[in-house]
Amino acid sequence: GDSVTQTEGLVTLTEGLPVMLNCTYQTIYSNPFLFWYVQHLNESPRLLLKSFTDNKRTEHQGFHATLHKSSSSFHLQKSSAQLSDSALYYCALSDRDSGYNKLTFGKGTVLLVSP
């Protein structure tokens, strides 16, 4: 079946340093749809980024990611971490050709930004 693999566990950064959270996926879909969701403590997942276009950078709120079908990757990046970026980040996958966006989530990566 489909699977999403993320940077495991906890990533700790000092404010101002760049952020890189890895996401790779395995799927039989020829047209995968990739998402990043962010979840703050005691809140629900909130959409951060999405893309189904190969090799095209997508950006939102200072974060960016590029879907690379050749390497099955959709890494999340930000040039300079802020304290408010501390949260749980999920990468998720769906099949765009199915007509539904049922999501397969990775296990999540906790990002902790310190002063």
Binding site: Y100, N101, L103
Partner: protein, 114 residues
């Protein structure tokens, strides 16, 4: 635009009790998803609907869980006889998948089964 609304926000049960979760999706969203998110895990799909029709409920523990969306708007997820292993947050999401929209999540219902 109002977001996805879920109620209750919290529920605490003894094993064997029943509980229902209610979800009001974003207006105009034809697809509705229910996810289970155990503590410290990613959300896992339970069931989803397009309008009033169940598209896939294969991940729903059918002996105790049921879900309906009778008019293609609000939805109810019910657990007949809760077990401690059902302790999790239950998330509802909705979208207009045909427009390549991402599912948007409600605040969830946090269930504790003692």
């Amino acid at each position: 635009e109002a977001g996805v609304t879920q109620s209750p926000r919290y529920a605490v049960l003894q094993e064997g009790q029943a509980v229902s979760f209610w979800c009001d999706p974003i207006s105009g969203h034809d697809t509705l998803y229910w996810y289970q998110q155990p503590r410290d895990q990613g959300p896992q799909l339970l069931v989803y609907f397009r309008d009033e029709a169940v598209i896939d409920n294969s991940q729903l523990p059918s002996d105790r869980f049921s879900a309906v969306r009778p008019k293609g708007t609000n939805s109810t997820l019910k657990i007949q006889s809760a077990k401690q292993g059902d302790t999790a947050t239950y998330l509802c999401a909705s979208s207009r998948d045909k427009n390549n929209q991402a599912p948007l999540f409600g605040e969830g219902t946090r269930l504790s089964v003692l």
